[in-house]
Symmetry: C3
Subunit: 409 residues, 3 copies
């Protein structure tokens, strides 16, 4: 980790300068959109994964570690494609894109949550962001496809990359579940902090790199309405498929967000408010059904143990977003769009994800990265000093050796 | 719920288009104010109500459901008054107002929290927002009254609407309390997330639809100062009225916000920094005293069981705000203001609230909406799959059937 | 407390008016930066201190009280230096600075957390902000030193002020620790809410009063990169110094933020992206090592019991920031800068902190401010009505007298 950061700093010393040419973008809207996206990356993804009863430290803590490293790495790997006098010119636009690149890793993290070591995850971060930068360059610059909210290049890519890694790291020993692979009451509430912050700031995410003016307005409104419709369908389907019409927190924490994913590609297109709502409605349905019926099948039949169900939140809705983009462009909803290029962009994102994820998984599987044994999965105490459990429940008299006597010897 | 969303989408298909004429408002300040208000609606109200020990899923989850539906409904019912070529032109300004309309429902939700089913609450959402749109049109367009921060049309309206509903749904069986109608240590901390986000972003709420420039600056500063003064008086009174000078978390979670409510009508008026602080000071006092002395009387003598004490946070401070607005306008603090119209606006808001709430309550009382029996009040497990309780407290070995084995069969 | 607020309001009535001359600053970026800083003050500092197992109400609640009073007091004491026609003209810029002045108090609060009464802390607030205003005037106006992100005048000042107070209030009875001076699992997660919000919005903090344009862009990017690098070094050092390579939550909650502190003075200087990262890297290292090795020594040898380790998060990184500023100015990285004035500013900040803190500590030590006895330290129940503990763990049947039966007698 220290070596990694030192290499990164050296690369920054060689390549990175401030972008004085775009300074007008700092004041006002771009800075605000950056901060909103930042909240989604660090609070949104971080707390969304705290639903596990004994893995909250890792969820929010390793999320911070991966994102903090990933944004530096993303600045470099994305910048390399756009050198200007041999330099990467750092602007607000560039740091928004750096935050975006980390989102792919945090999505994949969800698929392998609880079953990988920090070192494995840092390796995944390096490889996934590097491959993302290649695919992103291909989609945006070569194919000139539209993906303003990144349904394809972030969500579908991140999900299938993570699922490919999960497949390679399949653990037969967890076939029958694990006692810590579940939530408690308060861990579900912590996760809702992540859910709601993701939900609220998604209009900023989908409009952050849109052209200012009409286009950006469209992206905000489409995302707002898609998410609102998605909440209704997620609640409806959850209560339809659950025992006695009850709601399942897993669905609410996740499927309510699928509308933001699925409307991403089309967000800045002239699909009309009701078009956005239809996309959100469908996304909420397939996401909830995926959690209920597909995730168990993936685990038992295909050996894909998807801890957070990223296939349902990012994978299928991401593909839905890509398909909606193809249709919308074919219907002329985006000036200058080309449906074949949209389809190529989707295929490229999925291809890079599956191949890249499989290769990355094989590298992560090498036996010297400290992968936890089955019985220590989903448990913070393998990587963290965790406070004594009983102190929560009784007026403890003795001081456990893990408690923090910071001010005293 | 699915039918409701499908009808809503059809209405959007017929009526809603993007507002290309106001696109300049998307970049910059309006979008930011929208996001701040969004945080208040979804995190603020959602977490504020998680103080109940076993009702956190419903608080934050049903809050999300009602707000997500309510903003769609609010866009329609408010838009109907301002059709342009037969269309509702969706802009940032319109979605801020849609968020506002949901706030009325979330306030009323606080009065009946724990005692109503999601279906009852969706019915309340439809009716309350519809009636809100009528009153809002009357106050803003017909009476041309000032209510920039909506002390009258949101806070007083939402509170008395909810109290009228609560009166109609009076439960004699809860006269002596309910074991789950209380907090635990961590649920009070979750609630503070809601409190503090509401407190922080209130300057954005009260200035979101103010005229840009001087007026908006005034609204920000008045709200900032009123809230700051209110915190001091809420703490002072709480410690004066409680046993041994201790503070009561209920007062801190709620009464500290009364200054934001009460300064709403006057927020953009030239009342001076100290005028704003006086309003905040008084609001903190009456709100805290209301929690301590009035709420028990309302419950025992008038049959109004106000779970969150919305009468103290939104009701009385809302009326105070309306009265302060009458005085301020009479004193010439707002160019073009008319004190009689301000008084009419307050009366109209209270009238629509009480009559609308009573009728809505009667409809909600019909026996086929799944209202929970007394013993299941304040308990998530009637509507949610809730994780096994003992898993929180011991190293449980067995997997309860509610735990989330998402990746395994 | 009531008297204090009434005096404050009278002072506002005499001195404060709206600043109509700067109203153009309200729309757009300044208002956004204000709200981001606001979140750091109220959520960031408030929740960061909730790590203690039984002191969460006080952490977030007293933080709100001190900040709400402090910003009023800061507006007055800072405004007194810039009277215009005998008036303090309140603008967005002024309320950002008022929020800043409270940060010093909240930092010092961390040093004495759990060991002081609210009245003692209000006295500290009055004195610390008054002295801060003098030092800030000296540094900014007389010395004309650069400190855009306030490494010296907020972080170093706040930390050493608090440590001086802590030294004066030394409690030999806590030499061997206290059973409540530690965390539990969920309290550490609440604290991470504070950490992550502080981490995310630090670019806004360090750029909030920078000159718009290039300078502000530089401040955002330097802070973003310094924080990212700091996370990596904090994690690396934490795992190097802890037993079996585990991570310590205390380090992650705090040392990951040291990069924001340390880059403060240089934030708007032309130090280059890699310069910012180097500062962050070093800050993460010294902060983590401080928590591990220095804090116990301060407590046992110097009688400084620093509950939150503010010396490691704000003290040493603040000095590092001041030194980096001297070097950067000496190297010509800031037009018109003067290294000697930078050094004088650092010395002034430390001098005012230590002398001011010692005097304040002596006043706080007077025996009539309700300082808690040793055995009641770190315990909310001395100042708050706290819900019955057992209600969290069992289906309690009886209603404790602390539970909130708000709607019933």
């Amino acid at each position: 980790m220290p070596a990694l950061e030192i290499i990164t700093i050296i690369l920054f010393a060689v390549f990175a300068v401030y972008d004085y040419g775009k300074s007008h973008r700092v004041t006002g809207h771009s800075h605000e959109l950056f901060q909103d996206v930042h909240v989604m990356i660090f609070i949104g993804f971080g707390f969304l994964m705290t639903f596990l009863k004994r893995y909250g430290f890792s969820s929010v803590g390793i999320n911070l570690l991966l994102a903090a490293f990933g944004l530096q790495w993303g600045l470099l790997t994305q910048g390399i494609w756009h050198l200007d006098d041999g330099k990467i010119k750092v602007s607000i636009f560039k740091i928004i894109n750096a935050d975006f690149s980390t989102a792919t890793v945090l999505i994949s993290f969800g698929a392998v949550l609880g079953k990988t070591s920090p070192v494995q995850l840092l390796i995944m971060t390096i490889l996934e962001i590097t491959i993302f930068s290649i695919n992103e360059h291909l989609v945006a610059t070569v194919l000139e496809a539209n993906d303003v909210g990144a349904s394809m290049i972030i969500h579908a890519y991140g999900a299938y990359f993570g699922l490919a890694v999960a497949r390679v790291l399949y653990r037969p020993g967890l076939r029958n579940g694990h006692e810590n692979d579940g939530s408690v009451y308060h861990s579900d509430l912590f996760a809702m902090i992540g859910t709601v912050f993701l939900w609220m700031f998604w209009p900023s995410f989908n409009s952050a790199i849109a052209d200012p003016g009409f286009t950006q307005l469209t992206a905000v409104i489409n995302t707002y309405l898609s998410l609102a419709a998605c909440v209704l369908s997620a609640y409806a389907i959850s209560s339809l498929v659950e025992h006695k019409g009850k709601l399942d927190m897993v669905h609410i924490q996740n499927a309510t967000l699928a509308g933001g994913v699925a409307v991403g590609t089309c967000a800045d297109m002239n699909i009309g408010p009701f078009g956005a709502m239809l996309i959100g409605l469908v996304a909420g349905i397939i996401s909830t059904l995926g959690f209920k019926y597909l995730t168990p099948i993936l685990a038992s039949n295909l050996g894909i143990q998807d801890t957070c169900g990223v296939h349902n939140l990012h994978g299928m809705p991401g593909i839905l977003g890509g398909l909606a983009g193809i249709v919308a462009v074919a219907l002329g909803k985006k000036e200058g769009g080309n449906a074949a290029m949209q389809a190529a962009a989707l295929a490229s994102s999925l291809g890079f994800a599956l191949v890249g994820g499989a290769i990355t998984g094989l590298i992560m599987k090498l036996p010297f990265w400290g992968q936890p044994p089955d019985q220590n999965c989903f448990d913070d105490s393998i990587y963290w000093e965790v406070p004594e459990e009983e102190e929560e429940n009784e007026e403890s008299l003795a001081h456990g050796d893990h408690s923090k006597n910071k001010a005293e010897v």
